[in-house]
Amino acid sequence: MRVIFALALAGFREALRNRVTVVVGVFAGIMLLSTTLILNVTVFSLDRVVTDFGLSIMSLLLTGLAIFLSSGLISKEIERRTIFLIVSRPLSRTQFVLGRFLGNLMTLGVLQLFMGALFFVQLLIFGVPKTSAQLAAVLGLSVELIVLTAAGLLCSVLSSQLISAMTCVGLYLMGHLAEDLYILVVKSPSALVHVVGKAAYYLLPNLSRVNYRNAAAYEVPIVWPEFFTSCSYLLAYAVVLLMVTTFAFDRRDFK
């Protein structure tokens, strides 16, 4: 456990000193604080705009950062040969994968805490009532980031950063469109489309299940058991991705 934590901490330190992370953090702060400007050019109610804008900015930036960081997590280390210095130590490759995964989550977690705090302070300043849907949206985003990080890590073991990032973006988009895909497939008269479409639906992570941003903007009451079921499903999905990552990483040669 100490080894995994040491690797996670090193990854966390590295990511925090990475200019991209710093720029994203600063940009997020500026964007969240600029909500007052949006208020002057919108016809929607203040509550809705502050909630929707804050959550969207948080989601967009953190998702982008999660994909950027995780997709290069292992491929860059292999490319630069940094991995030689770690994997040659007395640790299993599973420990390495878990260390890197947790390090990335620590970075994203700290940034989300910072953005989440700014978001809730803003709600307080503008006098927007706090609802359980806002909390569900923030927690749902955390789960989404866990899945994307696990997916990025798997892609990173198998290919370069660019291809990994593109695959992750595709997975993110498809994950949010999974339910629409299912509806389209059901309506299709072709049996082949049925089989392929349903297979894709069950294989893709259904990220829209933890997307509570609209619910937060429209103050829809949250059914917590359903929320926790969705979270459990996606967390299990992330665990499976990590297991596949470990399996693939265990068999890799580092030339």
């Binding site: 690797l7 090193a10 040969r81 940094t82 210095l85 130590r89 007395p90 040669d253 580092f254």
Partner: protein
Amino acid sequence: MTEIIRADHLTKTYRLGMLGRRQVQALNDFSLSVAEAEVFGLIGPNGAGKSTAIKILLNLIQPTHGSAALFGIDVKDKRARIDVGFVPENPAPQEHLTAEEYVELQAVLAGRTSADARRLASEALDAVELGALRRVSIRRYSKGMTQRTMLAGAIVARPRLLILDEPTSGLDPVGRRLVRDLILKQRKAGVTILFCTHIISDVEALCDRVALLAKGQVVRLGTIVDIVKSEDSIVEIICEGVTQDVAMAQVADLKGSVEPSAHLMLVRLPEEQLQVAIRRLQDAGAKIRRIQPHRFGLEDAFMSVVQSVGDTVGGVLQ
């Protein structure tokens, strides 16, 4: 003597291309045994399989056939690497970390507690003369400083085996001296050292035994004296009074060579041809000044191996 490294009939074949139809054999029936407290050098031309052998020993790549063990434990078992320090060729550490953080991480990964790691890291950084710059980010370091940080990371957990892949490559004379001194210090402390390099003088100065690799195989193995002895016995005749062309004409069919040296000629040829050569040279008007055995260096042995195997850069294409 306890056996620290054992490699049995290792073979490694890489597949090339999308379909893997073409193959490169990087190692071919490679076997090796290194005893405790030995400084062992792996030398050979590019593509001979040195780095592949080292990577198999560290479980960075898996052999196609054969097995290897460190301290009697199969290299696939992580326990085999508990007492091992490693510096790869052209190392690239996590550049956003400071030297102190990096070396501490290496100690923790080797199984030390955080407090222990802090103390050991401080000692290791002092040993490589980086103590004053320990809190500077590695990306601000020069190549020599980075290499010293890697060495500190390798020795921090006081390993019983050090594996160094080209440890002095790209270093200035001061850096090379520091690395050599460090190796000698580790050797004195009873640490077993396996290193591969192209710098023959380092091997001659540091190694107890050497393996010469070519085409993924060990072609010569032993102490430097053994390897040098195994060359054919060559003698040198130093003479004057003849031109290079005349001297060459006398010894060409005796597998001899002639080199001018100031006003003298240096004739080299196999020992069994000595009497014939002396007679012919004297008949041609040469005055023999001196006859001496030719002293082979490791470099001569290395070059002879390179010439005998031809150009094999990148392994053997199949």
